[in-house]
Amino acid sequence: MVGVSLNGRRVEVREGSTLLQAAESAGLSIPTLCYHPAVAGGGTCRVCLVEEEGSGRLVTACDTRAEEGMAVRLDTDRVKEARRTMLELIFSAHPFHCEVCESNNSCELKKIASREGISGRELPFSQDYRPVVDANPFYLRDLSKCISCGLCVRACQEVQGVGAYEMKGSGAQAHPAASMDSPVDLSVCEFCGLCVSLCPVGALIAKPPLHRGGEDRAVVTTCPYCGVGCCMELLVRDGSITGVRAGVPASVNGYSLCVKGRFGLDFVDHPDRLTRPLLRRDGELVEVSWDEALDEVTRRLSAVVEESGPDAVAFLSSAKTTNEENYLLQKFARAVVGTNNIDHCARL
């Protein structure tokens, strides 16, 4: 453990922690844009500046290691001034159409600006507008809004090991480009959507049908696709799923999901969903009441058992349903019908 002083308060943190982590552990907040716990590094947006006591040096909290005896202040006039300048510079190239931006309610830049009392029009606005790239079914890229924080580039390279993006240009021209500046669809992108979930502004935007607007509540659950067991939050508004978010603490997947988990859950609301029991009459499946359907199953199952014995009945349970459902169905097969003819697609 190392001890640092934050705003005059002594805080103990694990060795190797950053000043930002020290502040968070002490319940102190430092604004950040280019930093995210899912990705190493940061230090490019310079919004998280803090002032070292004594030297008066301004350092970035997100990538400066907490050293024993270090003392910093988080909210000196110099810190505030520097942060305001950084934000004003970002806004000088960031369009100010928040009311029509998909990320309006979740924009980190907007949140910090309002907290710091920045209108966004302190400096003259000058920007090259770039066309929105709509090159894949999962997300849009609107580089006009990009603040070149580099989170998408780092996430793709370091977390995903894919490298679909790289930083092109320098200074005000710096922007994340799909490799070879090609449309994303033609590159190596696997559409895991991590970059989209980390983008602090509206430069990377998930497309509908999933990911439409804000939520009333978030429900922690487990992804229904593969056996990795990623934890996720389903974002719900007005009784339907409006988005998916990772980052459940202590989950196997952390902030990551794959393309199916992040973008492929709209089957839940699909119009093909079965809503009433069906019974075959004269060769056609027709809707019937639950009572009728269950009576039919009971009558015919019982008849087969009576005529040919319990082993004339077989059950296929499911690797997609829950433990409890699997338990109940095998109990039904064994205790109610009296057969061990139960299996599922484990081998397929």
């Binding site: 349970s317 697609c345 397929l348």
Partner: protein, 538 residues
């Protein structure tokens, strides 16, 4: 998995075989890439097909499909020849070493090269890399198991791990990557013909009496039929009624032409599902259940971690909770299920299943728990077999190479392996109803090596007919050097062109898994006008 997903980064060497991890377990693939990028872990891939993880690998050896026992035994032999075995582990934790050593003598790198096509020198290098690592973990999936020698392949891998002491510690192990979200749980909870929950055998007198007493009925003692056996029994008329919960064998099972005949021979087919799948469309009664977002429950992931599923939204229309459907049917058939809510059922599971004994909803709210978790104070088990194996000593199983059930010949000159794509899942009943996933990949394809494509005059996207002894389908060619000459690859996500029209239902005699990774097929270019994907059964 004997070990945990978070363990992977602790391995010095990861041996991947029969897993195309980036497509099938993308987030585990991410962990593998991070381990490699950190510079700590070397990746060794042994797989017939080049995969996207290959570019992260130090070596990628490409055996002929279906020759796994040969190369695994060959690696074991090299390890012994070069003295890389862990004598201490063999002495204290295993038995049957001498028999294994003698059996391995025949698997010289030269002989393995003849069988598998892996150059002897490369096999030796790979064996050294695995054998010299302090911590080496094996990861595999259905490329290893879906063979008539599937059980032997796994035994051979286990031999390799035991010989080198790579079990029972972090960063080691023999780790199957389970395919579906809850395939581990379905097995754990007794949805298998020979076991109750927690792998308690139905023909074990004590276990049978315990469950008979708990459930208040005398329970059958003979193991039942496995999925592929059920289809045969249905066709013979021995099975007359089939009740299917959330499965779609008309797309996912081998030789679907035969599956269809089986379904049509039944007196009663009941399907409980969320969509009118290809299988439900054949049913006499269809019962609408609910999907994961509409129910409470638990799934158990590939690392044995039991995790909560929470209800987020209401089910559509009059769909019932699946538990309710089963309990109500039981009631109508004269059996009252005492526990019917998910939480109550988990309590019943815990009371009857030692490995789930300490699992409760209250604890799961704090995060997942890995079984075995025998009591309420037990923290769960991240690494299996740290002190001993379930049977005490680990037994080396002598396994010999046997060729696949169906080998290419003049009439059917290609080997077909089936598999999955990143953008779709299993029979596609969910992913094919996701707008974006379906827009990204809306049809299947047949992967073929450029050399073979030239011979057959195929271009990228050409319509191509695949024919096996069981059926025939039309798909589109995807030309890729990822496949070896003589091998083709197809998926089964797309019902109209599911590769299971072609596959061979020959089974591994022990595990009853079908040989989905090797069947013999013929390819023909389809002329203009007949380009639509579609199928005919022969």
């Amino acid at each position: 998995m004997t070990n945990s997903i978070s363990d992977l980064e602790k391995a010095d060497v990861l041996l991947l075989t029969g897993t195309n991890t980036s497509e099938n377990h993308p987030v585990i693939a991410e962990k593998i890439k991070q381990a490699v990028l950190s510079g700590r872990t070397k990746l060794l891939i042994i797989d017939p097909r080049e995969i996207s993880l290959s570019r992260f690998a130090v070596m990628h050896l490409r055996p002929r499909p279906g020759t796994d026992v040969a190369w695994i035994n060959g690696m074991a032999r090299v390890i012994l020849d070069e003295g890389l075995e862990d004598g201490g582990f063999i002495e204290s934790r295993t038995e049957g070493y001498e028999e294994l050593r003698r059996a391995l003598e025949e698997y010289t790198p030269q002989r393995v090269e003849e069988i598998s096509g892996i150059p002897a020198r490369d096999l030796t290098r790979a064996a050294r890399m695995y054998g010299k690592a302090k911590r080496a973990a094996i990861l595999y999936a259905m490329g290893i198991t879906q063979h008539i020698s599937g059980t032997d392949n796994v035994s051979a891998l286990a031999n390799l791990a035991m010989l080198t002491g790579n079990l029972g510690r972090e960063g080691t192990g023999v780790n199957p990557l389970r395919g579906q979200n809850n395939v581990q749980g379905a097995c754990d909870l007794g949805a298998l013909p020979n076991v109750f929950t927690g792998y308690q055998k139905v023909d074990d007198v004590e276990a049978n009496e315990k469950f008979s007493a708990a459930w208040g009925r005398e329970l059958p003692r003979e193991p039942g039929l496995s999925i592929v056996e059920m289809m045969g029994a249905a066709q013979r008329g021995d099975v007359r009624a089939l009740y299917i919960l959330g499965e779609n064998p008309m797309v996912t099972d081998p030789d679907v032409g035969h599956v269809k005949q089986a379904m049509e021979s039944l007196d009663l087919l009941v399907v409980q599902d969320i969509f009118l799948t290809e299988t439900a469309a054949l049913a006499g009664v269809v019962l609408p259940g609910v999907c994961f977002a509409e129910k409470e429950g638990t799934f158990t992931n590939t690392e044995r971690r039991v995790q909560r599923v929470h209800k987020a939204v209401d089910p559509p229309g009059e769909a019932w909770q699946d538990l309710e459907i089963i309990a109500e049917l039981a009631r109508r058939m004269g059996y009252a299920m005492p526990a019917t809510s998910a939480e109550e059922i988990m309590r019943e599971i815990a009371s009857l299943t030692p490995s789930y004994g300490g699992i409760s909803y209250a604890r799961l709210e704090e995060g997942g728990l890995q079984w075995p978790c025998p009591d309420a104070d037990h923290p769960g088990t991240s690494v299996l077999h740290t002190q001993a194996f379930p049977r005490g000593r680990g037994k080396f199983a002598v396994v010999e190479y046997l060729p696949p059930d169906e080998l290419p010949d003049e009439e059917y000159p290609f080997i077909l392996s089936t598999g999955r794509l990143l953008y779709h899942f299993h029979s596609g009943s969910m992913t094919r109803r996701s707008r974006s996933l379906e827009e990204k990949v809306g049809q299947g394809w047949v992967g073929i090596n450029p050399r073979d494509a030239r011979k057959l005059k195929l271009k990228e996207g050409s319509a191509v007919r695949l024919t096996s002894r069981r059926g025939s389908l039309i798909s589109h060619a995807h030309i890729t050097p990822q496949l070896q000459p003589g091998s083709v690859f197809a998926t089964f996500h797309f019902a109209a062109e599911t590769a299971n029209i072609l596959t061979n239902p020959a089974l591994d005699p022990k595990s009853k898994i079908p040989d989905l990774k090797v069947c013999a097929v013929r390819l023909e270019r389809v002329g203009g006008g007949e380009g639509d994907a579609g199928a005919t059964a022969t």
